[in-house]
Symmetry: C2
Subunit: 253 residues, 2 copies
DNA sequence: CTCGAACCTTGACCCGAGGTCAATGTCAAG
DNA sequence: CTTGACATTGACCTCGGGTCAAGGTTCGAG
């Protein structure tokens, strides 16, 4: 006939936990002695260790209660279920560990793997740290608002990176971020960009449909807080040129 | 500029969690639009994924808050600490899995390994299921009240099992459980038990000090609910004999 | 015999990390 | 104009206990 403290120590749980199990109806309340102390037997110790083992495995107390009342067959089935569960948690834990490991090693964690690869490629091509960050923020924003559109645009942009002229334009736009708004090079750059789009065959689209358009990503980027006078000017020139082209088209039509 | 729902979906958390992080000061409150909706940027998404990753690793939110404010060095140190922690949890999980596996396979779980081995040995010697259970309960009770005494007695009893006469006596006592109280074999059995203890050299001790005395374990066992008229009678005879022996000693002294 | 330490009793409140519900407001599309 | 999806706040619920308060009990030493 042992006391609650001895029982708890034997099973490796706290006294409070034992009383909690009583309240939940998990562990039978033992008889009291003359002073009102609970007096336990070995059977209680066995039941308690069983409860503790299941509880440590993350089984909710309510479920443990059911299991203790179940027959051997049901119990065995539940055990193997719990074990599968535990195994799953082990795998999940390994995945978490991998992600945690990447946490201290940069920003690859925060975007889908393929985007991370793409960003690495940009860095290798010589894009500035700031440019890469703008891209990253753009893709995050885009894929949270419309994941499907993001996937399509992304595939298109990835393809464009195989075109040396596009890469050259991209790098120059990246540098242009720091130019002043009246830099004479901006006009030429805007022209080359326009010609590239026309040459690619989708320069005619209105602006919302087209695919690999760096200005779209940049547009998104501005809403994340990045902007530069030179880029604003670049966009301005592009709009004017497009207006002229549209007008010319109308004239010729 | 995304809404709370889009942000939550991107990071893979619930809206409620995002607001919870705001309340805890973990994630900066973004500006509101004209209708009072929170409007997030990509920076928020990055911060949120970071928070989520740490939270999934079991890091308390208060600790995450500290980490986000810490410098890169402290952060990296904390990460490796967390990773070690995670690894430890993995090991613990494997241990739990092993114990869970044993749960459906009997009672080895509920007593220390060496006692489990001892109980198996009893079973092999032909001790009844009931007898083994009485022993198990006895050791549980004993090791919860006085673990040290239990260890000493246990070592002694294990040694006694190497004596064929002790084993024979044990088996006969085990069978005697079901005899009636006036069975004539009880007297002879009591005599053999007494002679064994005397021959072993500790028959002179008072009864509280001695070591491998099955009647002690049985005595404990009675307090767990097991008892039989034959065993009660056996104890009665033993007491009478001991009384006579003591008296004789006194006379000769 | 008394003292203190260690043990036991009940009850009430507290914790993290959100979930749920209610009442209300707002947005976008048919 | 309505409908359904989404947003806002606040209050209360959950689980598995921990902590505190305000006592009563037991045990061993002096």
């Amino acid at each position: 006939m042992i006391t609650i403290g001895q029982l708890a120590a034997y099973a490796g749980v706290t006294i409070k936990a034992v009383r909690h199990y009583h309240k939940c109806g998990l562990l039978e309340e033992p008889p009291r002695d003359s002073s009102g102390y609970r007096r336990y037997t070995a059977q209680h110790a066995i039941a308690l260790v069983k409860i503790k083992t299941l509880a440590e495995a993350g089984v909710p107390l309510a479920r443990i209660k059911e299991l203790l009342a179940a027959n051997a067959h049901q119990f065995a089935a539940a055990i193997s279920e719990i074990d599968r569960n535990l195994q799953e948690r082990g795998k999940e834990l390994r995945r978490t560990r991998e992600r945690i490991g990447r946490l201290s090693a940069g920003d690859r964690l925060f975007v889908a793997t393929e985007v991370a690869v793409y960003l690495d490629r940009l860095r290798q091509l010589g894009v500035s740290q700031r440019g890469v960050q703008i891209e990253r923020d753009g893709w995050i924003l885009l894929s949270s608002t419309s994941p499907k559109a993001a996937a399509i645009w992304f595939a298109d942009k990835l393809e464009a990176l195989d075109d040396p002229e596009f890469v050259a334009l991209y790098l120059e736009c990246d540098e242009a971020f720091d130019w002043s708004a009246d830099d004479p090079r901006l006009d030429a750059l805007a022209g080359r960009v326009e010609r590239w789009f026309v040459g690619r065959g989708d320069g005619h689209t209105g602006g919302t449909q087209p695919a690999a358009d760096p200005s779209i990503a940049r547009l998104i980027a501005t809403s994340t807080g990045f902007s530069s006078p030179a880029w604003d000017q670049l966009k301005q020139i592009a709009r004017e040129r497009k207006g002229r082209v549209t007008k010319t088209h109308r004239h010729s039509a």
